[in-house]
């Protein structure tokens, strides 16, 4: 009986995962995107062609859509004109800023991975846990932090003037600010994914390379790097997709001058021009899914085999010699960058929450206390928001981890066609948040008529399901590479000893990739904590609001004046609760962690 159940567990898990996806993702999103190709009940590619053929959207490429046969002539003209600079329209710009953001995130994130994976120092584990914190911060709070840190009168300029360097103005409202903010969100992603990969590199292989004459650096390049590249590319892919779909942070720090496609998509939804919104959403989705597919194809071709012996860490501090070691000095410099880019905005937000127009104040926290004590209906209280956030986070973690693992098992041991399945299963990463929100509204909140009954989904269960769907790809992105690196003989051994496929997974595979599962779990929790769109849609009544929802409500509240003070106070609460949660998650789950 039990064995039977064990044998069925994985297939059932697959079916359940797919069912959840169907209900809270594919169906809602499909119901929106279908409008891109269906007009008046008939299939048409007209709207797609209109957008692609509009120079505003696609710049130079618009011509190729409208008149494919004119391309050679056009190219010729371009060559004759001496290669003038080419505009690629809104899509082009969106991709360009995403590419820049990706590069920046990787550049900022990689040294962090090196530090965390290869050096031992006091607080390493804590630091590793906290890397995920930026991930949960609402963009308005990041905007506040960036303004206070990098603004004309920001902390950075204050500090620079102290050391006698002139103010660096003009960062804000430029592409630089947007790219930096994207790095703020995504560099930690790079760091986390790469650290996990780095920690599973086989030490013996590195030693082989060294004994064959490779210097430390060469051995890194030839043996370690190939094992890191997939992780770096995963992180880069995710960053690119996220920043391609980025929207509020772009407007808040860059302005409409730097608008992305998502800004347009949102405006269309606001205007209830849902057909056009669907068209934009479809193009975005096709682009990001194609990229995902190509990446997964690449990833599957990488051979990865995890060694039994892992690299040992260096001590970060080696006494006075620390200051003479260029690598360690470099890491120190990197530490300064991290403090400026990450700690700066976060600390600025906290400082903001403690200042008012007349200097230091606790008014913002008094505001929180007042909300907590309030009696009026519709009041958003901070503590229930904290509680709900934590509960949903936990629920999401409990649901998203199994879902992600199931998908990873399919992906790691799957055969033909599993790349396409994996791509489709990764779609929650690649579809515009606005589209997902709209889809949920139209199908789950409004309800769907099934056999004469109108089924409406909302409330805590729906929220957790929605969060889990948004979060599980992070679990599987972390776990898949780790799983496929496990020596298959270990699995064979376990099975020959009598373990069913499920037990092998539980007893052998998951413990071996515990670090990756944990990383995924932390992401799942973070996604849930930071999630806003679907939470607010699916919150019916006042009992299911979360910290970001509360924060957003306090933004509009001016009882402490027309400032973001109350929101920053809530942001600080969010920050602290999140940080504490991650420390706990990592400590509880970190027993197997290297």
């Amino acid at each position: 009986m039990a064995r039977r159940a064990e044998r069925l567990a994985l297939p059932v898990g697959v079916v359940a995962t797919f069912a959840i996806l169907l209900v809270v993702f594919y169906y809602p999103v499909g119901s929106v995107l279908v409008a891109a190709v269906v007009r008046g009940g008939r299939l048409t590619l007209g709207p797609l062609a209109d957008v692609l053929g509009d120079p505003f959207y696609t710049g130079m490429l618009a011509g190729t859509v409208r008149d494919p046969f004119g391309v050679p002539a056009g190219l010729g003209g371009w060559v004759r004109a001496g290669f003038p600079s080419v505009e690629f329209g809104l899509f082009g710009f969106t991709a360009w800023q995403a590419a820049l953001s990706t590069v920046a995130s990787v550049l900022v994130g990689l040294p962090g991975a090196y530090l965390l994976a290869r050096y031992e120092f006091v607080g390493r584990r804590t630091l590793r846990s906290l890397t995920i914190v930026p991930f949960v911060l609402p963009s308005i709070m990041v905007a506040v932090g960036f303004l206070a840190m990098f603004g004309r009168n920001g902390l950075l300029n204050d500090l620079l003037s102290i050391v006698g360097l002139g103010p660096v103005g003009g960062v804000l409202f430029t592409l630089k600010a947007v790219v930096l903010a994207h790095a703020f969100y995504n560099a930690p992603l790079v760091t986390r994914l790469v650290t996990t990969a780095w920690e599973s590199v086989d030490a013996r292989r590195v030693e082989s390379a060294r004994s064959l004459g490779a210097s430390r650096l060469r051995a890194f390049r030839d043996v370690v790097l190939p094992e890191l590249v997939p992780a770096v590319l995963t992180a880069a892919l995710l960053t690119f997709v996220f920043t391609f779909l980025s929207f509020p942070i772009v407007l808040a720090l860059g302005g409409l001058q730097l608008a992305t496609v998502e800004v347009w998509l949102y405006a269309r939804v606001q205007d209830l021009a849902l057909g056009e919104a669907a068209t934009l959403g479809t193009i975005e989705t096709v682009l990001s899914l194609s990229l995902t597919y190509l990446y997964l194809r690449y990833e599957a071709r990488q051979v990865r085999s995890r060694g039994t012996t892992t690299l040992s860490r260096h001590r970060l501090s080696i006494g006075w010699r620390t200051l003479r070691d260029p690598v360690r000095v470099g890491l120190f410099a990197y530490g300064i960058v991290v403090v400026i880019l990450f700690v700066g905005p976060l600390a600025s937000m906290v400082v903001e929450s403690l200042t008012g127009s007349g200097g230091l104040t606790t008014a913002n926290y008094a505001f929180l206390a007042r909300q907590q004590a309030a009696t009026a209906v519709g009041t958003i209280r901070p503590l229930p928001a904290v509680r709900n956030s934590l509960l949903f986070g936990l629920g999401t973690l409990l649901l998203a981890v199994p879902m992600g693992v199931v998908v990873s098992v399919l992906a790691a041991r799957g055969g033909r066609g599993s790349r396409i399945a994996e791509t489709l299963m990764s779609a929650p990463l690649a579809v515009s948040g606005v589209v997902v929100g709209l889809g949920m509204l139209q199908t789950l909140v409004f309800g769907t008529t099934v056999a004469g009954h109108r089924l409406v989904a909302s409330g805590p269960v729906a929220i957790v399901l929605a969060h889990a769907v948004a979060a599980y790809p992070f679990v599987s992105r972390n776990v898949t590479p780790a799983l496929s690196g496990i020596d298959s003989r270990l699995l064979d051994s376990a099975r020959s000893l009598g373990a069913s496929r499920l037990r092998v997974l539980v007893d052998v595979e998951l413990p071996l990739v515990a670090a990756a599962v944990l990383a995924g779990a932390a992401f799942a929790f973070a996604i849930s904590i930071g999630e806003f769109d679907s939470t607010v849609l699916l919150s019916q009544g006042v009992n299911t609001y979360t910290m970001p929802v509360a924060l957003e409500r306090y933004i509009g509240n001016r009882s402490v004046g027309p400032s973001l003070g109350p929101a920053t106070a809530m942001g600080t609460v969010l920050l602290l609760v999140t940080a504490a949660s991650f420390l706990v998650i990592d400590r509880l789950g970190g027993r197997w962690q290297p």
Binding site: A494, S496, P511
Partner: protein, 367 residues
Amino acid sequence: MAAVSERGPADTNPTGVELDDVTVRFGDVAALRDVSLAVEDGEFFTLVGPSGCGKTTTLRAIAGFETPATGAVRIGGREMGGVPPEDRNVGVVFQNYALFPHLSVRENVGYGLRFHDPPGEVTTRERVDDLLSLVDMADMAERDPDALSGGQQQRVALARALAPGPDVLLLDEPLSALDARLRERLRVTLKAIQRDLEITTIYVTHDQAEALAVSDRVAVVNDGRIEQVDTPERVYREPASRFVAEFVGDNNRFEAEITGTDPPRASVDGLDVTLPNASDVSAGRPVTLCVRPEAIRVTDGDVGSSGAAATTMTATVESREFLGDAYRLHCRWNDRSVLVKTGGRRPPEGTVRLAFDTDDVQVLTDE
């Protein structure tokens, strides 16, 4: 200790293993081609063969890790198609140990007992302790596999496979990383356990002395095919093919021509060699004569004790290897290299006379 015995097929075959025309492919490579084998219940069966010939693949097919492209695997008479590995009750020791790195030595050994009751009236803990002492690892029970030497890991892998009391034990070079002393001890233990518990055991080793010493029967595998299945003595003394003759043990091979049939005799480079009476030869046929190095005596001058029956030749010793209990001499005779194994304290040097008996000549007719 292992006595060689020729087992007849058992009437009941509760845990015998049969392969029926099994072919296993990796992409284009056929690692096994139409392999048929019948391992009796309780038999100690050994696979030998060159590296890459398909030994590991055979074990993996039996354990259920490879699905044969064609053919069937049966355990205890039951067709195994579709039976997952965990339901075959097969213990496996892998060539690379494959210990669970996240479990201690004790937990590794105890792992299979999560799914099976320990055999006999003992607790899991007792069973694990017993097995750990058996492989001499009792004092390292709490270590992680990472902190073990290669041989120690191999011993743990062995204990782990034995713990649940499998019906069939598949051992892929389980002792290859051990020193001779320990290897022998474990081999004896293994054999004793195997005989006590009547576990059908299929053993892969590249150590031929071990294969011959320990096995009830030996299968010689070459390039994905079975060349011969027989008792150790028969495989050694009556090789079915030139490959077997060459592969199992040292051998000297002489191309020869039959010059007479009654008594059968042949000529090697003009040297007249009397063949054993039973030889099935016809005149003029090219044959290969094999003489084991230990069957060749070094006789400083005279023909040797066996008198007229012996063939003799004059050769020069080119080099020698010390083997402990003997020397292996590389001699040259008529531009041919002749291998001789001889005991004694001082190995002969320079020009020597070599002699071998008629009975020690194996005749292989070319296929």
